[in-house]
């Protein structure tokens, strides 16, 4: 399929995206230039300006705290009972920053370089440079908030290394870095709530966007406790609503993570970029049975000391310690001698899949590889290993019932993070004026593959430092009249109609059963390895299942009460539409890129083959209406500093 095929029947090609609004000039200067050119809002006026933020994770929490502090009137929403429970809390491994505290040659430029390369040249240089630069300030900010990062005996901050890099630049708080960073942001946010600058709405779910004159002017939410549908208007709306990995049903995401906020905005004209870019994480606990509701990540920092292997012989069912050294295949060390167990996630994931496909996988169903700490325990002693990874080992034991000090862990790749998301420009503004998107919900910084410890960095960079600088400009440049009643009532009406529709189907299949089936299709045909044939098959299966959903789903209870089935049903309904777009995106991208191995595009060694000439762009999709073909807009990616090369970790 040619890259610009417009008549394939799945999509149409529209105008390219001409400008992502990054200033010209040397990359080191662009952010300074942008900040200088931005118009400011008079501090006395900020109080009269209202900003709505959806989400209280690292991105939303840090943004709310900072905008509240700046004097704006912020209204902030999340679906959990407290902002502190946002999915960010679960991040284990760490956060990168180019502090060069190890004196190992790290620099802003190196972090920038590695992030662009690690993303397989599908992210924007300007954004990534800014991210690498801000990374240093993030650590300062979090330390000042009292985040208890790991320290050395001298009292200075400790670091470790993480998959895909050879310098030690990852800051961490044992295996709970996300928790500690989120609590820092949450506490800062709570301070603003107390000061009256932020109004908090926990257990509220955004179900639609209020649009007027083509601008985002507010949201319609459902109070999850009593089911009341309400609206809130503002000068600007910020989505910090996280990723959509749960489209696969099984993933490492929290159960409530969903795409609804982004999807509703997409249907109003916000482009959705690179939807098929899903990160598959190599070190998760394998699936144990049909009852399973989610997958648990084992931090990739484990690969610093753990060695990955499988038996050399297919179908070897001996217990791990009955298999002698010379009958083991430490395949990452063998194939990628210079990075070994620390290869990036996409490489490690696919290598695991390959050995399992050869019949050498271990554990039930043969879908697992060993992550072995025997050498580390012999070398460092059990105590040291326990100090470093103790809580992860405990978690593993709880879930599997096996003790990883005595027997190697079993791991397998799982859906973890979505690099796609709403398209934003350099200011983090979507194609809907007044709608800003930050954190995992946007697409901009990671390309086709996210390196470890960079999502936390991006969420906090966006929330603490980037958005608070760019949103001023929008507010200062636009005089926004009060929102007309019709715009509000139309939006509310859409939400009510949809809720009633879901409740009135009264079919015979549960929401979860549909979600599971959709997830299965997505994993099978739009997962780690994709083929044109499989993707086309998915495009038959998904619409059929969606139709069945809208005729057979059973949503119990009423709208005017706490109704968890209704919440799920709305989310799964949006997942169906997103899933189809993901598959179309994957189908049109006939190259292997990042974690997305397109079987038709590989080299002689079976390594992924990228096709920069035909696909060196961001695919940003426009919603064209229900049942209509989506429209593809391409944003060309220019690499002035990091010249695209084939990645090699050998």
């Amino acid at each position: 399929m040619a890259a610009d095929d417009t008549t394939n029947g799945f999509y149409r090609t529209g105008e390219p995206i001409a400008d992502a609004k990054a200033p010209a000039g040397a990359i080191e200067e662009r952010w300074t230039t942008r900040k200088f050119e931005a118009k400011q809002v008079n501090p006395a006026n900020k109080r009269k300006k209202k900003i709505i933020i959806i989400g209280t994770g690292l991105a939303g929490g840090s943004a709310g705290a900072t905008l509240g502090e700046a004097g704006y009137h912020v209204q902030q929403f999340c679906f959990q009972d407290s902002p502190r429970r946002a999915h960010s809390i679960a991040a284990q491994g760490g956060i990168n920053a180019a502090k060069n505290y190890r004196n190992d040659g790290d620099s802003v430029y190196r972090l920038f370089y590695e992030t662009v390369k690690g993303g397989d040249f599908r992210s924007r240089e300007s954004n990534v440079y800014r991210l690498a630069d801000i990374s240093r300030q993030i650590i300062d900010q979090c330390v000042a908030q009292g985040v208890p990062f790991a320290r050395e005996y001298g009292g200075l901050l400790d670091n470790r290394s993480f998959g895909g890099t050879q310098v030690s630049r990852t800051f961490y708080a044992r295996g709970q870095t996300g928790q500690q960073l989120l609590l820092g942001a949450y506490q800062a946010l709570m301070r603003q709530v107390d000061a009256g600058n932020v109004e908090l709405f926990p257990r509220h779910e955004m179900l639609d966007l209020i649009m007027e004159d083509g601008r985002a002017r507010g949201v319609v939410v459902r109070n999850l406790i009593d089911g009341e549908v309400k609206h809130y208007t503002a000068d600007a709306v910020v989505l910090a609503s996280g990723g959509y990995g749960n489209v696969y049903f099984l993933s490492t995401n929290a159960m409530g993570s969903n795409v609804t906020a982004s999807w509703r905005a997409h249907r109003h004209g916000a482009l959705f970029a690179n939807p098929c870019y899903t990160q598959i994480h190599p070190t998760c606990i394998p699936v144990s049975g049909d009852h399973q509701s989610k997958l648990t990540l084992m931090s990739e920092s484990l690969r610093n000391d753990g060695r990955v292997w499988v038996p050399k012989k297919a179908g070897d069912t001996r217990r791990p310690y009955d298999i002698p050294e010379d009958e083991r295949d430490y395949y990452l060390e063998r194939i990628y001698p210079s990075f070994g167990n620390l290869v990036p996630r996409d490489i490690a994931s696919r290598a695991a899949k390959n050995v399992c496909d050869e019949g050498r996988g271990v554990g039930p169903g043969g879908l697992g590889v060993y992550l072995d700490f025997a050498d580390a325990i012999a070398r460092l002693g059990r105590d040291k290993v326990e100090a470093k990874y103790g809580n992860l080992f405990e978690m593993y034991e709880r879930i599997t019932g096996e003790n990883p000090y005595d027997t190697p862990m079993r791991i397998y790749p799982a859906v973890h993070y979505t690099m796609g998301g709403l398209w934003v420009d350099y200011d983090l503004e979507s194609t809907i004026p007044g709608l800003f998107v930050i954190g995992e919900a946007n697409f901009s910084d990671h390309g086709a593959n996210r390196l470890g410890a960079s999502a936390l960095m991006q969420g906090l960079a966006d929330g603490y430092f980037v958005l608070p600088n760019t949103i001023n400009d929008y507010i200062a440049r636009n005089s926004l009249p009060p929102v007309a009643e019709t715009a509000v009532s139309e939006a509310e009406e859409r939400v009510r109609t949809r809720i009633e529709r879901l409740l009135s189907i009264d079919g015979d299949r549960s929401v979860d059963s549909f979600h599971r089936e959709l997830g299965h299709i997505m994993w099978e045909y739009c997962g780690m390895e994709r083929t044109e044939e499989g993707l086309r098959k998915a495009l038959d299966l998904i619409p059929a299942l969606r139709e069945e959903f809208w005729t057979r789903v059973k949503v119990t209870g009423k709208g005017e009460e706490l109704n968890q089935q209704l919440e799920k049903a709305g989310r799964v309904a949006d997942f169906f539409e997103l899933a189809e777009l993901m598959v179309i995106d994957a189908l049109h991208r006939a190259e292997s890129c990042g974690g997305h191995f397109r079987a038709e595009s590989q080299d002689e060694d079976g390594e992924a083959k990228r096709d920069d000439d035909n696909f060196g762009y961001v695919a940003a999709w426009e919603w064209a209406g229900e049942g209509a073909q989506p429209v593809l807009h391409k944003e060309a990616l220019n690499f002035e500093y990091v010249k695209p090369t084939q990645r090699s970790y050998k």
Partner: protein, 250 residues
């Protein structure tokens, strides 16, 4: 596994509520407690009944959203384990299991097993933070933190705010939760300037929210899924006394 569940059902805050019995006969020992409830709910939906409402999100033992008093114990029988990380292999085939919501005056029931824990947020709002406006922070290495302090602060900071301590306490006190925050921030050099105001306003809010007083029964630390040690309460009391003796009571 075959199980008999007795689950607290309560349609809303005004409803009286009561235990309802359900039988399950095909529970996998590898399932988590919440996955077992998922199975129950699928069964209820299939038979046209309303599924049981319960809180959960991460299912990894870190968000603090899951709750449940299982056989009289918050988060169930296994030490230092949240309900979402509790697996059915810890129960016996044929067992009868009682499932109830957190019980505490300051945590009103919303529906079935879901309670309102927003009082925790309000205690944090009262001072559970360090005032560090964005962009004003000094270079991170300009303030070293002795490793033992950093480690102890980290241990206290591990609190997930689930509320099991309150549910376990005969007085419905949130002293462990408060003590954890006061200890975390009070051990860091960055937390010193606001240390005394923090403890006073947080404790005052604690009392206003309807949490009971601490009488050192220690049930909280036993129930805590993160093993927050009882000595954080000692530190809380110490700081409070010192602050109020210094005239900080508002």
């Amino acid at each position: 596994m075959k199980l008999t569940l007795r689950v607290w059902r309560q349609s809303g805050p005004q409803d009286k509520g009561g235990m309802v019995e359900y039988k399950l006969d095909d529970v996998s020992p590898d399932a988590s407690f919440l996955e077992m409830l998922d199975v129950l709910n699928e069964k209820l939906i299939a038979s046209g009944e309303e599924p049981v409402a319960f809180d959960h999100d991460c299912r990894e033992g870190i968000c603090g959203m899951c709750s449940l008093v299982i056989n009289g114990t918050p988060h169930g029988p296994e030490r230092a384990t949240t309900t979402c990380q509790l697996h059915m292999r810890k129960f016996k085939d044929g067992e009868v299991i009682d499932v109830e919501p957190w019980r505490a005056k300051a945590f009103p029931v919303v529906k079935d097993l879901v309670v309102d824990r927003s009082a925790f947020d309000r205690m944090i709002q009262a001072g559970g933070y360090i005032t560090a406006p964005t962009g004003t922070a000094p270079e991170a290495h300009s303030t070293p933190v002795p490793k033992p302090d950093a480690d102890r602060a980290f241990e206290a900071a591990e609190c997930i705010g689930c509320g099991a301590c309150v549910a376990a306490c005969p007085n419905g006190s949130a002293a462990l939760f408060l003590g954890a925050k006061v200890t975390h921030l009070g051990l860091m050099p960055q937390g010193q300037p606001e240390r005394w105001d923090r403890v006073v306003s947080m404790l005052d809010t604690h009392d206003e929210e309807g949490f009971g007083g601490c009488t050192n029964t220690g049930e909280c630390t036993v129930a805590c899924p993160k093993g927050i040690p009882l000595d954080v309460i000692g530190r809380l009391n110490h700081d409070y006394l010192k602050a109020t003796a210094g005239g900080k009571k508002r």
